[in-house]
Amino acid sequence: MSLESFQQLNWSIMTPEFLILGVIAILVLMDLFMPKHMDRKMIGWIGIVAILAAMVATASMVGGPVESILHDTFRIDSFALAFKLLLLGGGALVLFLAVSYEPKDGVERYQAEFYYLFMTALLGAMLMTSSGDLITLYIGLELLSIPSYILAGIRKFHSQSNESAMKYVINGSISSAITLFGMSYVYGLTGTTNLLDMASKLATLSDSNHVYLLTLAFLMIVVGLGFKLAAAPFHMWAPDVYQGAPTPVTAFLSVVSKTAGFVIVIRILLTVFGFAATDGQGSIPILYNMQNYLAVIAAATMIIGNVVALKQTDIKRLFAYSSIAHAGYLLVAFTALTPNMFYSIWFYLLAYLLMNLGAFAIIQVVTEKAGSTKITEFAGLYRRSPVLAVSMGILLISLAGFPGTAGFIGKLNIFLGALYAEPGHYLLASIMIAATVVSYFYYFGIMTQIFFRPAADNSKFNIPFGIVVVLLVAVVGSVLFGILPNIAFDFLQNNLDIIADFFK
């Protein structure tokens, strides 16, 4: 490629990515040249500003045409924009948590890294949403994963954090390898890494050996990505990693990483396998053929996540299992494969982002003060800080999926999709509802601690500014989208025609 044609590419569609990348570079240099004694918090604040600016840049592209550069490896379509907005919103809130995090256990030495590693990981996630090619998808995935490994272990002198990082690296690399292995089969069959080219080549597949190979590739990719989503039975790493990592990192893993995981699942599985024929042109695509397997994973994830959560005594482990369960609900939406799947997944991820990050904000305040992550540390929170207690109550009610909150509308959406698919997934929908009822036990278990039990110590909390912002956004958002969900529905439907754009 000559320099001239290189310059003629429409680089402006990468503005949000460049913004983040540029600011990371500046922050690294700042950290290097800043005097040692100066407070690194500033770096975090600059990061937040950068993410918000990237969000504005992304939002300004909403409603534009589908564009792609660099041989279709980087594309901007409605799907990319919609999920990029979620990731950036989640990333900004996580950084708010991070700047309110009191560094200890070695984090104080790497405080600046703490902030820009979040941004690097976020950049990886953003690349994933816009990838039209297996190579960029994989690079995005690794760019997200590697900083996450470091972040999980950033509390250098804390043994749980070390364990957490170790487990995460090993499990993450294995899953990446499995995914890559699966991808290699697809590449071998089609001779291309471009997703849409693959799709058109696979649409006429009729050799049964090829179908067999492709099914194998499908299963391997599902297994590999299942690790990333922490879907059962590949969820074992999540509780240990969530427990050991610093709270903002846990929040990041449970929200931003998970959103990115769903992005890659949808991109690969839907484009490549959504059209791959099982028996010549016009036959059932592999993805539909394998729906039952996805359903089993979804059901197992919901059941295991919710049931094991019942026995937890550590709040971060409990939220690890809760986030596994929520991945299960999202997989139900994906399994149903209805056209409104994009909307229900997007909306649920939005609701999940709000309620989970809000809950983690409170968990961070309470556990940091108590110096322990036992659920019993929440005892008497209602007396110590009614504001925190009531906020947590609202967020837990949203997580449990009670009406009046975004969590309820999100579940309703998924539920409706599962039922009006033909044939309806009645069993899966029933499991989802039953699992939800089970989840009442542990969500309300936290509430009994907060509202019914007496406090061990009656000291008050200082709530840092960052936490206040996160809580405000989370609580107002959860209630607003619970009562007037059409704000979000209309935004999506009027501006982002995901289905039409997705295969362009």
Binding site: P403, I409, L412, F415, L416, Y426, Y440
Partner: protein, 502 residues
């Protein structure tokens, strides 16, 4: 005044009280109690105004309101097919329940001022939220909205039981939450299937769609949905064997909450069965009528026999509630005008009677810190007024002519004897048992052997007399002049009978 806003105002007016309470400082006990009580008055006044509007001969459909609310995206990208509107409306049957709810709520708020000893602020905020939920679910015109209000009642009730209850309150609260959560989950499945298959949850439209044979829903499918509804509301009613949670709640919750719980929340089960079960699935209801009648008799006898051996008066009343809900089921299963009317009468009448009984239990417990029958012997001497009202309430409950219990039981049995004489005959043992267990318990307390002396124990006085007198008056009013209930019901009954094809 715009009549369409009346129902929304009626439902959401208690929320104003919550906002005021949120501002008040915790220590202002009297102000908090006053606000908590006063906030129940607007719904009361409005519901009575709606009743007056009806008595003036004007149509209740003047109050209907329907505003677009949520549009779930449909299968086709361009059609917003799955619309859920904000729809409130009121019919004669709903009107009765709304009036019942607002009356009992106001009286329960009065009771709470007396019985609740700590953290009034939180109590009244949750209580008012509960009132909003109850009023909302009786006026909701589509099933999604009904479900939302239904769940809104769950959360405050959970906290009211778990925080202000007696010794085993947390266990009772969880048992309440899980059973009702399970019931509402089943209900949600039904609602969502209906929404997915028919595109609406409006009750009137569903009625037509389900009755229309050209819509492709097989008979088995409808039967399945109906059975699911039966389970969902069976938990709430409660139907044996889904009742164990309700015993715990009756015993562990504070009396002012039990007044609401036994008086109104249990009635949601009956309301749901009539409105959705009978209204939307009349053919399926017919198919299972005998089963329902048998379940009703089981409830009636099971409750009555177990009530007979209880030593705690609260347990007697809890089992008596199960027993009386059996009569509701029996009346419904008769599927004729007398039976259904009897069932609805029983719903209202039991709501008033049990609210009264639990108020009296609350008074007794407050004075003596016990509700064991054996420990309360000789009450008539120490607390003559309380004992007198207790006896009167028990008489109403066992169906003494001239009181509301009699009219309802009489009609429910009349209806069932017409269609299933044998089942009804077995059921009538229950009537005798009711008299036996209630008299055993109440006479044991009022005239029984004195266990202690009641020196220095105050009788009913001052504001405490208000709930007692109001409830007693209403019970007698219905007993001697039943058309206060039957005339608003007429239109509802006609529609139901039309749906049943008889």
């Amino acid at each position: 005044m715009n009549l369409h806003a009346v129902l929304s105002l009626l439902v959401f007016s208690p929320l104003v009280g919550i906002i005021v309470l949120a501002i008040l400082p915790k220590s202002q006990e009297i102000a908090i109690k006053a606000v908590g009580f006063l906030a129940t008055l607007p719904p009361l006044a409005l519901s009575l105004a709606v009743y007056a509007h009806y008595l003036a001969g004007k149509s209740l459909s003047d109050f209907s309101v329907s505003v677009p609310w949520i549009q779930f995206r449909g299968l086709q990208p361009d059609e917003p097919a799955y619309a859920v509107n904000y729809e409130l409306a009121i019919s004669g049957f709903q009107l009765l329940l709304v009036v019942l709810t607002s009356v009992v709520s106001t009286l329960a708020a009065l009771g709470a001022c007396r019985f609740i000893k700590k953290e009034w602020k939180g109590y009244f905020m949750l209580f008012l939220l509960l009132v909003t939920g109850m009023l909302g679910l009786f006026t909701a015109e589509n099933m999604v909205l009904f479900f939302i209000f239904f769940e809104v009642t769950l959360i405050p009730t959970f906290f009211l039981i778990g925080k202000w209850g007696y010794f085993e309150k947390e266990k009772a609260a969880f048992s309440f939450l899980i059973y009702n959560g399970f019931g509402s989950a089943v209900l949600l499945i039904v609602i969502m299937i209906l929404l997915a298959k028919t595109g609406t949850t409006n009750i009137v439209m569903l009625k037509e769609i389900i009755a229309d044979p050209s819509v492709g829903l097989s008979a088995d499918f409808k039967l399945g949905l109906f059975i699911a509804l039966l389970i969902a509301f069976g938990v709430k009613l409660p139907i044996f064997p889904l009742h164990s949670w309700m015993l715990r709640v009756h015993v562990q919750a504070p009396p002012s909450v039990v007044m609401i719980h036994s008086g109104i929340l249990l009635k949601i089960g009956a309301y749901g069965l009539i409105r959705f079960g009978m209204g939307i699935f009349p053919d399926q209801f017919k198919q299972l009528a005998v089963l329902l009648a048998i379940l009703g008799v089981i409830n009636l006898l099971y409750g009555a026999f177990l009530a007979f051996i209880q030593t705690d008066f609260k347990m007697v009343l809890a089992y008596s509630s199960i027993s009386h809900m059996g009569i509701v089921l029996m009346g419904l299963a008769a599927m004729n005008e007398a039976g259904i009317q009897g069932a609805i009468f029983q719903v209202v009448s039991h709501g008033l009677i049990s609210a009264l009984l639990f108020f009296l239990v609350g008074v007794l417990y407050e004075r003596t810190e016990t509700s064991l029958i054996g420990n309360l012997g000789g009450l008539a001497k120490g607390m003559p007024l309380t004992a007198g009202f207790l006896l009167a309430a028990a008489m109403a409950s066992l169906g003494l002519p001239g009181m509301s219990g009699f009219v309802s039981e009489f009609m429910a049995f009349l209806g069932l004897f017409k269609v299933e004489p044998w089942i009804a005959a077995v059921g009538s043992i229950g009537i005798i048992m009711t008299a036996v267990y209630l008299l055993r318990a109440v006479l044991g307390m009022t005239f029984g052997k004195a266990f202690r002396d009641f020196d220095g124990v105050l009788d009913l006085r001052g504001l405490e007399l208000v709930p007692v007198l109001v409830l007693m008056l209403l019970i007698v009013l219905i007993g001697v002049y039943p058309s206060v209930l039957s005339s608003p019901l007429q239109a509802t009954l006609e529609t139901i009978m039309l749906g049943l094809g008889g």
